[in-house]
Each structure stands twice: as structure tokens, then as C-alpha cells.
Point group: D2
Chain length 349, copies 4
Amino acid sequence: MQKIKVGVLGATGSVGQRFIQLLENHPFFTVSHLAASEKSAGQTYGQVMKSRWKISSDIPAYAKDIVITLPKPSETDGVKLVFSGLDSSIAGEVESEYAQAGVIVISNSKNHRMDANVPILSAEVNAEHLDVLSAQNTKGKIITNSNCTIMGVTISLKPLFDQFGLESVMLFSMQAISGAGYPGVPSMDILGNVVPYISGEEEKAEIEPQKCLGRVVDGKIVSADFKISAHCNRVPVFDGHTVCVSAKFKKKPNREEILKAWKEFSGEPQKLQLPFAPEQTILYREEADRPQPRLDLDTGKGMTTVVGRLREDSLLDWKWVVLSHNTIRGAAGAALLNAELMYKKGLIS
Amino acid sequence: MQKIKVGVLGATGSVGQRFIQLLENHPFFTVSHLAASEKSAGQTYGQVMKSRWKISSDIPAYAKDIVITLPKPSETDGVKLVFSGLDSSIAGEVESEYAQAGVIVISNSKNHRMDANVPILSAEVNAEHLDVLSAQNTKGKIITNSNCTIMGVTISLKPLFDQFGLESVMLFSMQAISGAGYPGVPSMDILGNVVPYISGEEEKAEIEPQKCLGRVVDGKIVSADFKISAHCNRVPVFDGHTVCVSAKFKKKPNREEILKAWKEFSGEPQKLQLPFAPEQTILYREEADRPQPRLDLDTGKGMTTVVGRLREDSLLDWKWVVLSHNTIRGAAGAALLNAELMYKKGLIS
Amino acid sequence: MQKIKVGVLGATGSVGQRFIQLLENHPFFTVSHLAASEKSAGQTYGQVMKSRWKISSDIPAYAKDIVITLPKPSETDGVKLVFSGLDSSIAGEVESEYAQAGVIVISNSKNHRMDANVPILSAEVNAEHLDVLSAQNTKGKIITNSNCTIMGVTISLKPLFDQFGLESVMLFSMQAISGAGYPGVPSMDILGNVVPYISGEEEKAEIEPQKCLGRVVDGKIVSADFKISAHCNRVPVFDGHTVCVSAKFKKKPNREEILKAWKEFSGEPQKLQLPFAPEQTILYREEADRPQPRLDLDTGKGMTTVVGRLREDSLLDWKWVVLSHNTIRGAAGAALLNAELMYKKGLIS
Amino acid sequence: MQKIKVGVLGATGSVGQRFIQLLENHPFFTVSHLAASEKSAGQTYGQVMKSRWKISSDIPAYAKDIVITLPKPSETDGVKLVFSGLDSSIAGEVESEYAQAGVIVISNSKNHRMDANVPILSAEVNAEHLDVLSAQNTKGKIITNSNCTIMGVTISLKPLFDQFGLESVMLFSMQAISGAGYPGVPSMDILGNVVPYISGEEEKAEIEPQKCLGRVVDGKIVSADFKISAHCNRVPVFDGHTVCVSAKFKKKPNREEILKAWKEFSGEPQKLQLPFAPEQTILYREEADRPQPRLDLDTGKGMTTVVGRLREDSLLDWKWVVLSHNTIRGAAGAALLNAELMYKKGLIS
């Protein structure tokens, strides 16, 4: 079987590095195109990243000798798909150019998420949203992830939403510094501190889940119609976003129904046995003080959403805590799973 | 003017140390009685604390030569009032013994907070709750603080509650490690981590504010009747509890009304010019990313409640962020202010 | 091939947990005996550890149903070897009892390290020290690790010591909190702080390397005769001890000679292809700012000693920085490698 | 008495902010000139700093309405002295321009430190170095601080150097993040980590102390002739550089002689009762685990050098630990003390 040639846009950034790590020895994909800004273009990835690689394992050997180019479709060596970790200041335009040039764009940026006909794809949650791609009027297609903070939240909501209906959700996040990229958060701002604000984050957290949980009606995604209020905070944690959730349902479930719904939840990735699919999409921990980033972050190689502390809520119906790995399940790992899903469904050719 | 002789129970613990620091050169009170467990009793405070003093200033000279006793009323040298920072495992009984012996007990422990006729006193919020003390059937009286987490929250709610009425409140706390005392939280549990659980904390946060904001009816405190849901979390911050609040009012105020209510809020401590009264009880910061423990903790010497990020809430009415100093405004400083209030009102004699 | 039955003493502690993790699916050893204090004895490991397991992966399935006993040889089910992570307050006596009962004790405690005829074994450094075991007058034998701080230092010194001779060494450590076990260092002492003192650590760091680098003469270990001065510090790092080293040699090598000596260094573990042997015992990193715990800790699954910043020293000859994983290479992993070495050499039967 | 008009160059940076804080209500000086880069010039300090002020107290009222200018002597409103916290990329040239224009420059930058006739002034240590200023061939004069890391070290060495002579010193620093300014160290590099490298730091640490402890001979500063070797490290501490020191003396003192030398050490600042002079220049703490940034940083309002852990060194003679506040005693506070010294000596007119 011949592997599909793929590229990584924004290859030198935090998300780009994670893509390059996770794509090592991938069974479906082989990386032949790495794009970054003018500062890096023309040099090999190994040269550029010598002092900028921030993941605690070495730069994969396959990537070291690839010469970085500018993010232009004309520079690709015939890749069929690109993973984009571009900064949102340029991602919108560049991703559109690749799509127009016939390349599938699996994007981690916010720019196209709310575009009509662009799914916010979460492989276990809404694989059927791929049906709207045909309505994109470009040869290539753009598929996005949700924001890293609400990725795990939406997964924890999905089986409950399906079975019991959702009326409203209150979210409080404690987000890791890696979510801001590198150099990102200055240490003087966060060491021994919390910052109760992340620019643009609450806005995204209050609209993306409804689209992600929406239905496809007449070839279009119709957002679900529950309300969300979000408080987003930065905390001195390296990786792992922890979110406290309170929710009100259309029909209040009991405790056993919720735990059963989470335990049994799986989707296309598990059915198709995708390489990056976690065995257990949602793991509920019974201990009183879990999940915690320190102890639960790597569950399912960072692809499992870990949930705990389910208890009744005196205002809404139930409350719980969700942890997900923000640079794996919340970014590069989710994007890779989306690409695997498209590959197995024959959408990449 | 002769100063009132006072004591500190639990003098070697975290809250006890803070009492001893704040009572240095106090204009109304002079410390003559320090009580702790058998391990320390019989030794001077200076000897015992040499390697246990955890505040970044030296042990006040006045305290060094006081010989620690067991926490027994018979050991006091005629003190009229004690500040109690006792552990809750023994605070209930010991505080009752002091009250029976005729001593006023200003307690920071949870044990008697929900007792009928024991006020959860917050000097600007509910000074009139002192009226119920006469119904305590002991010669001494017991007065408590609220839990450190909801102290600032309750202050931020008070003027809004009075003017607009409260229906429901959602709280999400990010609490400092000093709230757990010493040795308290093991570093392996919290360095680079968050723990979404603090034993017993949510229970307290869901009932104490209603009592604190209650009215005195026929000589009894009647709790206010709004609902609270709380998510309590431990974060790697040394001092300072940050709380995200969402609230629904009986009559929804506009932004200006809320800011005006906070700005103008003051109470008996300001009227009586109590030594520990902050000039501004509530300070609203306009910056998008405030309050933060690092930058705002010491406002008003740790006695001001700092509020920020007021914005509309898509589920309830309004949301905001509250920061208060958990070992000053949330514990020893609040207790001291309560004692000053009682002194000025002639309740200590 | 039948696996050797082994036990873990102090199974509930930090080092004990690491032993249990690393022994999962070990090709030579199978765990059948777990010992801990009275608090835990009589319960299964799974029950006891539910809320005490502090490693970011689940308790291995094999260990969950083992019933914990007191650390008594009579309680073992015929194990031939025990790994001891006992607290030093009891390790001395208990380990001696096991040795008298005919069990080989691979100890991580300090108690017997300086005993005559007890090697401080570091498998690549001094495998020949096993020759002195026959002089122990018990049926079982006791073998120790060095202190976690100097493990990596001694490895970085070994090839230089052999080729150029050592006159004196100055060490400055920055040690991780996990080195103090659990609950260990209170967070109030170390969050955003450094503590320039670790009880007993400098004493160990100033005598153990000389024994570890000693020769066997007439069946006895004779310590090497260079001098060490150590400054030991605790820093807010979870895992990984970083040590700055300055050294004076009998014959000053040049830069290339040192780098070559490190690169080519290997020992019995590599020759015998022991399961826990790192491919590269010492890895030198060229980057100006390495090694760092964040980026280099997991090199060689935590068994490689990572060295960097080699430069001339204006007082002594050369200086450099050493990082090693304190709970793997510095404790449980080193002990396991020692046991593997003994197994392959036919010393366990 | 009329106050001297002064300015702050680099007023928006970390050191600049500290100058502005410390100069509030200063008895000798009044600030009328604030200079920064083009980004800020033309706006008031209050406008520019609204979201950039990083000290945990508000911007002093006096500074808020001052309009920032470019750092040009022509822009000053007749100031006689400027405090410079300029970045070293421009400090050299700009400071020279001010000096040529007749302004005294109290610099915190490294650029002119090693110039002949420019003292590295540490007011208690080498006040007599002011004698060389007349040899500077400009109307204004340039005076520098030492690097923040060695400020406290040099103070701890001074009385020992005078009484016992120094042969060699080994330094090992654990430096706070604030030493790198803002945004400075990215949080992803230092949270839960140590970085054993700070660009250019060891070079400065190995030559500045000798100049600082030098003598004035024939109107020139002659550096002292002992050797230093330095290992410099960044640790996750906000403020406060901790340095482990080992030293060899020409004539080895005993413990009592060292403690006495430190206790009795004082200099011109104490004699002249300068406003910023700490009562005790060096404080020795007897506790086994001190000094620590958390507990000792604010000693003498950040102007006292705190020393501890004096013990014999097996290679050199004695070793100890030094803590000093890097942005106060190591930067702005030291500079202010230098300016006060010059004022009292009649060197500003």
C-alpha cells in the first residue's frame, strides 16, 4: 500500500511540532512538505529546530532533512493533504489557497471553523458532518478541529446530548500554558499565579460546541440550540486543560444512566480501528480527586477524555470535571484522527 | 487607654502565625496567651517556631518569649478574647470551653459556623448579626468567619443582593495552597498540576453565604434563600483565592448599577474607622485580565476584595471574577476586623 | 525459562511504586511478595493504593490482587530476591533479616551502603564489586544503589576517572521533589522557591562516589582517594536531578578526549544486553542550554545520563552539567539493572 | 531643601518599573523625565503601562501623567541625573550621550561596567571608587551596578576579603525569572524545570567581583586578583537569586571570625544614614535551611544580603549560601543607594 504524501503548515510552531512527532511512522501518511515563515524557509527542519524543538523526545529523523518552504501550494511536492498549525493571523488565507489548489486542509486554526460547510470535526462525535464537504466550492476541502478547551467537553457531552437532550451548560476552564504556543505565556505572568482571562477563548467556547453537536439537515450543519456560558482561565500547568462543567438536560438522567452513556460511547474511529483512536474515548475515574493533569493526561496516549467527580448540581442538573490533553486530543492528535477518518472513508485520493 | 488582653489558640499553625503577625502593635489588643498542642506546650513561642514560622517576616518580638500552654481556659492569664485558628478536629469542643469560661471566641474554624445564634460575621456585610449573641447561653460568646473561599464572594454579592435580590449563584474557585495549612498539600500533588477537589469545601461554599447574607428576625439569623452551586479546585498559587462567579438576580441590574454598587459599598468598619478596615472594601479593576493573585493580592493590605471582568452571562445574568487574600481577608484579618468591631461596639469588657 | 520470584519491600512508597511499575512484564522476574507497614498489611495492593498511586499510568494489573504483608522473610512465598524501597528508619534491620533468611536484597536505602563488603553497585561503573559479596557472612546478600543525586554524577566521572585520574570534584545539585518521597516536601516550602538544604544529602554525596569508583583489592572495596565538596539544593522540579560539576584531574584531558570517553563508555549491562540497559549510557548534548529536566529526562527511558555544557573551569580543570532521572536511573531502574546483572552472572539461584 | 530632578531611561521595562516604584516620595530626588522607545514616546506613562505594569502595587500617581520621551538628553527637562534600566543593545551609546550632555548616569546595564574609570559601585563595598570619576572625560559621569547575581555575593565576600584575603571562589547560582525582564523567560521553558544556562552570565560573574573588590591606585581601579568559577542556572522562582559559594582564603579564618566579620560589616550608606541603606547589610541566619527566597527576600526591604549555611568546604576553605533580591539590591535599589551616596557626598550639583 502506498502512503499518502502530506504536509505540515506552521511546522515550526507548537502544534506543528506535535504533528511532526505524531506522524512519525504513520501507517497511512508520509510527510514530504514542511512550511513555515520566511525566517525558516530554505533551511532544513533539523537546522531550524535545533534550539526550538520543545517536545521531550528528539526531532524525528525523517523530518530533519526536509527543507522548509513558504506555505504556498506551489511549493508542495504534490501532497494531497496538509495539517495546518498556522497562526490565525495568516491561517485563513493560506488554508483557502491550499484548498483552491486541490489540497485537503486539516486545520487546527480558528479561522474557518464557523464557515458554512466547514465542519468542526471530532471524529467520534460528528463523523457525519463530512457529508457537507461537497458543498465547499473548492477542489480541496477544509476541515477544522474545535478549540482545544472544548474538545474534551464536547466529547463528554455528546452521548448525554444524544440520549437526554441539553438545555444549558456552564463551563469553567483551567488551561495549560502550552495552549498559548511558544514563547506564549511569559513566566512572570503565570508562575505561582492564575490569569482569569484568555483572549477570544470564551467566545469560541460559547459557540463551537453547538456546531460540533449539530445535525446535518439538507446538506448543511445546523447547530444544536442549547446555551453555554464559559469562564476561561490560564493556570501554571504545562499540558492538559481541566474543565469544570455544570449542565441542565431536557430530561434529567440519573447517575447510572450518565456513567453508562460515557462508558459505552464510541464512534467511527473505534469501528474503523483508526490508528489514533483511543480504545476508550471517555474514561470515568471513581476517585474523589480526579482527573488531574499530572496523573491522567496520558490516558489512551493523550487521546482519551478523562472524566470524574460526577455529582448533582443544585442549580442545573449535574456537574463533573473533564480533562483532555490540549496538544494531542485538543489539537494535533484530533486532527490526525480526522485525517485517518477521511482516509478510511475514501475521501482522500 | 488600657489594651485588652487576648490570646491565640492554635498559635503554631498557619492561621495562628498570621494572627500573631497581624496583632503586633495592635492599638486595642495585647497578646498574653498562646495555646497549642502538647508537642509545643511548655516551651516559648520563639523556641518552637524557629524552624516552623512560614511568613516572610520575622516572628514578632513580643511573641517570642510567651510560653505556650495547652488550649485550656484555666491556662489563660485573664484574657477576655481569643482568636482561634484551631484545627477543626478539636476546635468545636475547645471553643465551647472558652465560651463557657466567659471568654469571647473569634473563630476561624468551621465547627460552630452553622450553629443557631452563632454569626458568620463579615464586618462590612452583616454587623447586625452581632445582635444574636445574647441568645448564646454562655458567658463568653462565639463568633465565626466564613470559609476563606466564599469570604470575598460574599462581599462582592452583598451590595448586589441588597439592591437587586439574588436568585442563584454559580461559583468556581481556584484556591491557594496556603488554604490547606502546613504541611498541607504535598508538592508532588500540586506542582504543575491542578486538583479539582477540596474535601468539604463545596459543601461549605453552598450554605455559608446564605447565612452570611441572612437577616436577623426575632433575634435569630434567617438565611437568605438563593441557591449556590460550587466547583472548588486547588491550584499552584501560594496565597490568594480566585473565584469565577455567575449570578442571577431577582431584578437584573445594568453594568453601571453593579459597578456603582461595588464602588460605594462600605460598612461599619469604615464608619468606625477600625484599624484593619480597608479604605475600599471592593475595588473593581478595569483591565481585561485582572484580578490576579500576583498583582492584586496585597490591595488594601490584603483586606480589599478585588473584582474584575464583569460581563453578561448567557445563562444567568452577570459574571465576574473575585480575588481575596485567603489568609488575611479570608481568615486572620477578617477575624481581627470582627474583634475590632466588637470592641468599638462595646461588646468586649 | 522460569522467572525468578521476587518481592518489593516498602511497596506503597514512591520508590516501591516505581519498582512495581518497572517490573511489569519483566523477562527475568515475577513479583509475588509485596511488603509494607501495618497500616497496609492484610489488604490487596489495589485497595491500598487506589488513592495513593502517584505515577501517571495505572497500577499494573498484576499487582492489584497481591495481598500486602509485613516486611518479614517468613511472609515471603519463597522469593529469592527483594527490591527494597524501605524508609531508612527501618531499612537497616529489615534488610539484614532478609539477607539472613537467604534472600538477596537489592536496596535503595542508605543504611548498608557504607558497610564493608556491601557494594554501592552501579552496573556500568563497578560490576566487579560483586566479587566482594562472598565476604558477606549471610546466606542472602545485600547490594545497594548510590544516593540518587550522585548516581548520574558518578557515571559521568567513571570514564574520566579511569583515563585521566581524579583529584577533586565540586558538586552543586538542583534536586527534584520526588527525591523526598510522598508526602515529602510540603508545597508551601517549595512552590516558587528553592531550599538550599537537604538533610544528610551532602554527607552522602561526599563519600559515596569514592566507594562507587573504588577498586576491589584482596576481596575488599577500597574507595578512590579524590575529594568532593557538595552543595545540595531542592528546586520545584517534579522528577530529575540536575548537577553542576567542576573537576580537577590528575592529568588534564582536552575537550575531545572527554567527549570521546563519554561517547564510548559502556559496561556489562550493554555487553550482556540487559533489559534495562540504556543503549547509550552517557549522552552528551551540544545545545548551549541542555540538559534540562523538561526535555531530557526520558532519554533512554530514564536510564541514560545526559551531560552538557562542557567548558573549562578557571579554578579546577573542566566543568559540565549532569541530569539523571532520580527515581529511575537514580533509584528503581538502577536497582533493577543491578538485579538483572546478578541474574545474568548466575548470582541468583 | 529643593529636590534634584532626575529621569529614568528604559522606564517601561522591568528595572525601569522598579525605579519608578522606589523613587516615589524620595527625599532627595523627584522624577521629571521618563524615556523609552518609539512605541511609547509621546504617550503618558499611565496610558502606556496600564496593562504592562508588573509590580504588585499600583503605578505611583506621580508617574502617571509624565509624557514619555525618547532617550535623548535634549528631551530632558534639565535633569541632573538619570537612572538607566536600558536594554544592553542600546544602553552603551545612549548612556554615553547623556554623560556627554552633562548628566550623571546611574546605570544598571552591563555596557560600561568594565570601562576604565567607570566604577562598578556597591555603596557599602567600594564607595572610594567614586574617586575615579574625575578621570571620565565627560561633563556627566557614568556609574554602574554589578550584575544582579554577584551583587550579594560580592557583599558577602567584602569583609572576608578585607580581613583574610581571597584566593579563589566557586559560585553556583539559582536565578529568578525576573532577572530576565519581561516578557523574558517563556513559561514553557521554566515551569517545573531548571535551565542550566544564562547567556553571558557566567562571563560577567567571573570578572565583575574582582573589579568591585579592587583598590584605587593612582586614580585608577585595580581589580583584585583572585579567581572565580561560576555555574549560572535559571530556576522557577519569581524574585531572588540564591547563590552557593565556596571560597579559599589567603589566611583561613575560623567560623567565629567569619560570622563576626559579616555581623559588623557596614559602610558609607549606614554612616551617612542614606534613605535606602539597610540597617543590617549582611544578615546571617542560623537555621539549617536558610536563606530561602520565599522567607528571606524582603529582609531590610530587599536591601539586606541574607547569608546562611556556613560550613567547612572539603576542597576550598568555607562554603555558604547567599540570597539577594535581584531587582532591588541587585538592580534598582542598589542604583538608588549609589545615587544617594553621590548626593550626600556632594557629587550631584
